[in-house]
């Protein structure tokens, strides 16, 4: 008994206790509530009542499946665009010889965080709107004769998401490239690899951890995004986050919202597992 007590003390369980309590009270319990709610029926005012039902899951994979699909699709596309834009940018930043240039460019990447995300997304409404900056500019140049429908499209959501999450792609890749030993580039050139093959066979594999981390950090919040599609997507750009948001509002449906949340969480979990798997393979390889 005494031994056991000592072991518990040595394991540092007590140090972790506040965190464990915090997680149980504010994460595990609410999650359990959501899980249980998702199997309950809708009562008046959208609350959850008995009896248990699978109704909400059926609707999630039925009428709402297209929105689930769109969310995953837009998130995937966001991730790809962020990667295409972010990798060269991160590479550029981390290969600057002068430290000060690196610091300034990194600072510029993080600078948008100084402004509230909502305000920045509203700014995109002004840019993309029918009488917005972009349309106005193109019209005045005579390149187009009538305003392009930019706002309230999936494209607008994509632009907004890429804009919002790009730093999350750039920073981990930056860290990866920063750690990359450029002697390997010399070695690859020395062994006869041209620039393209040096990149695909040496640079990319060795910076892959950053790429994977960046993809996870962009994909996961993108799937659940609701501010951006709400402000920029209109009805055509509705995503699962908006749907969930609505279910917990005035005339909502909490059990349905819970079911949607659980499914979305499952998507996130799967993408995390993919990330961990790829990362482990990378570490082993």
């Amino acid at each position: 008994m005494k031994n056991r007590w000592r072991r518990i003390r040595q394991d540092g369980v007590f140090l972790a206790l506040p965190t464990i309590l915090w997680l149980v009270i504010f994460f595990v319990l609410p999650l359990a509530v959501v899980l249980v709610f998702s199997f309950m029926s809708r009562g008046r005012g959208g609350v959850a009542i008995m009896p248990f039902t699978l109704d909400h899951y059926q609707r999630t994979f039925g009428v709402f499946f297209i929105i689930l699909q769109r969310s995953i699709g837009l998130a995937a596309l966001t991730t790809i665009v962020c990667l295409i834009v972010g990798y060269p940018l991160a590479f550029f930043i981390s290969t600057r010889r002068r430290r000060i240039v690196q610091q300034i460019t990194l600072f510029l990447v993080i600078l948008p965080f100084w402004t509230n995300f909502l305000i920045r997304t509203y700014a995109w409404r002004i840019l993309l709107g029918e009488e917005g900056t972009i349309n106005g500019f193109l019209l005045s140049l005579g390149i187009i004769s009538e305003a392009l429908p930019l706002l309230n499209t999936q494209l607008a959501v994509l632009i907004g998401l890429v804009y919002g999450f790009l730093p999350f792609m750039v920073l981990p890749i930056y860290a990866s490239v920063e750690r990359f030993n450029f002697r390997y580039v010399d070695a690859a050139h020395d062994l006869g690899a041209n620039d393209v093959r040096t990149f695909t066979r040496v640079v990319l594999p060795l910076t892959l951890p950053g790429v994977l981390a960046g993809c996870a950090l962009v994909f996961i919040p993108s799937v659940g995004a609701f501010v951006t599609p709400d402000l920029l997507g209109g009805t055509k750009g509705l995503m699962i986050g908006n749907l969930i948001n609505k279910q917990f509002g005035g005339s909502g449906n909490m059990p349905l919202g819970s079911a949607l949340s659980i499914v979305m969480m499952a998507v996130v979990m799967i993408s995390l597992l993919v990330y961990l798997f790829a990362n482990r393979r990378e570490a082993r390889a």
Binding site: Y184, D186, A187, H189, D190, L191, A193
Partner: protein, 375 residues
């Protein structure tokens, strides 16, 4: 006709450092023969590694020409040059196995996988590491990584192998073994080796010829014996081995390559002049190796036959002696201020304790053991 594998013609390379231009390689010209083991020797920052990188194609000279097998390398990228490099930190790809590392260069040439695998295995046999192909570089010891780096470069059968301090990261004993092995390997494969090192002993024991570099300049190129015995500058004499420098004044140059030099205590001695000595009189420095100086007590000298025409004999005072195993290292003073270090091999146990401190002794050396250098 001797063929030159590598020829550098008046190479210049500058680097920008803190907003200033620093000359890393300063008008270097040298010809390296086919199959030669050529060492670039110098202290850190002397430009030896930059010279190597210019040959490899990682850097481009701002002036001058690099020729490999007679072909101008200007505009030819590193991946098209017939040279391979063993890097100081080996630069083995950490995400690939040892075998994949060695196959990498072959696959870039378009060699098929089966053939590449076969040649990789032969190459590992050659560096006597047959069983590590499936391992990752980080699972190998430093010495093993070094061999893999060597195998990876040699498997491409380059015209020239460039080695950038390849043994620098190994401990002393392993380094000695690898020196021997590298030399043997070079003889077997017959490839030209250009070997960068700051370790003079390494250069002397391994190289056919050594180029001593300092501050971007190639000060002297020659066989290890020439470099050691006949240094042409004070820097070379000082950098390679231990040297006594005695300040003196050149009185006259003889026609036979010898000159009369006045020492600080006004003794005049005869000494051999460096082939590159520019002045015909005035202040010079006399260099002489500690092991070239003999010590005798007065009693002994009487018995020895020393031809005064060929030898310099001076009185000296023993001020310190240091037993270092194989040798005893004596510090002596000649005249009022000039100190000399003398190394005498301990042939019998008595040698090291034969002379007492403060005892007047005689030192002597053959006149040709000295080199008179520009100050």
């Amino acid at each position: 006709m001797t063929t030159h594998d590598v020829e550098l013609i008046d190479i210049v390379k500058d680097f920008e450092s803190g907003g200033k231009l620093v000359r890393a390689v300063d008008h270097v010209s040298v010809q390296i023969a086919d199959g030669e083991f050529f060492a670039l020797l110098g202290p850190s920052g002397c430009g030896k590694t930059t010279t190597l990188r210019l040959i490899a194609g990682f850097e481009q000279p701002i002036a001058g020409k690099v020729l490999i097998r007679g072909l101008a390398m200007e505009g030819i990228p590193a991946y098209h040059r017939p040279v391979n490099t063993v890097f100081q930190d080996y630069a083995l790809f950490p995400h690939l196995t040892v075998e994949q590392n060695i196959m990498f260069g072959l696959q870039m040439e378009g060699v098929n996988k089966k053939e590449a695998r076969k040649r990789a295995s032969e190459s590992l046999d050659m560096v006597r590491l047959p069983d590590v192909g499936a391992r990752k570089p980080h699972q190998l010891s430093g010495g093993q990584q070094q061999r893999v780096a060597l195998a990876r470069a040699l498997v491409k059968k380059p015209a020239v192998l460039l080695l950038d301090e390849p043994l620098g990261a190994l401990d002393l004993k392993l380094r000695k073994n690898m020196q021997y092995e590298l030399k043997a390997l070079q003889r077997d494969v017959g490839i030209t080796f250009i070997y960068v090192t700051h370790d003079q002993e390494e250069a002397i024991t391994m190289a056919d010829r050594i180029a001593v570099m300092n501050e971007g300049k190639m000060l002297q190129v020659g066989s290890p014996r020439q470099i050691y015995e006949r240094p042409e500058t004070v820097f070379v004499a000082d950098f390679i081995g231990e040297t006594n420098f005695i300040a003196g004044e050149l009185l006259e140059r003889g026609p036979d390559g010898f000159g009369r030099v006045k020492l600080p205590d006004d003794t005049v001695i005869t000494a051999q002049l460096s082939g590159t000595l520019s002045r015909s009189s005035g202040p010079v420095r006399l260099a002489i190796r500690p092991e070239r100086i003999g010590i005798a007590t007065i009693v002994e000298t009487e018995g020895e036959i020393i031809d005064p025409g060929e030898f310099t004999v001076l009185d000296a005072l023993l001020i310190d002696s240091q037993y270092i195993g194989t040798d005893t290292r004596y510090t002596l003073r000649i005249g009022d201020a000039t100190e000399l270090v003398v190394r005498v091999q301990n042939i019998s146990e008595l040698d090291s304790s034969a002379i007492a401190l403060g005892q007047p002794v005689t030192v002597y050396w053959h006149n040709s053991s000295t080199t008179v250098l520009d100050n």
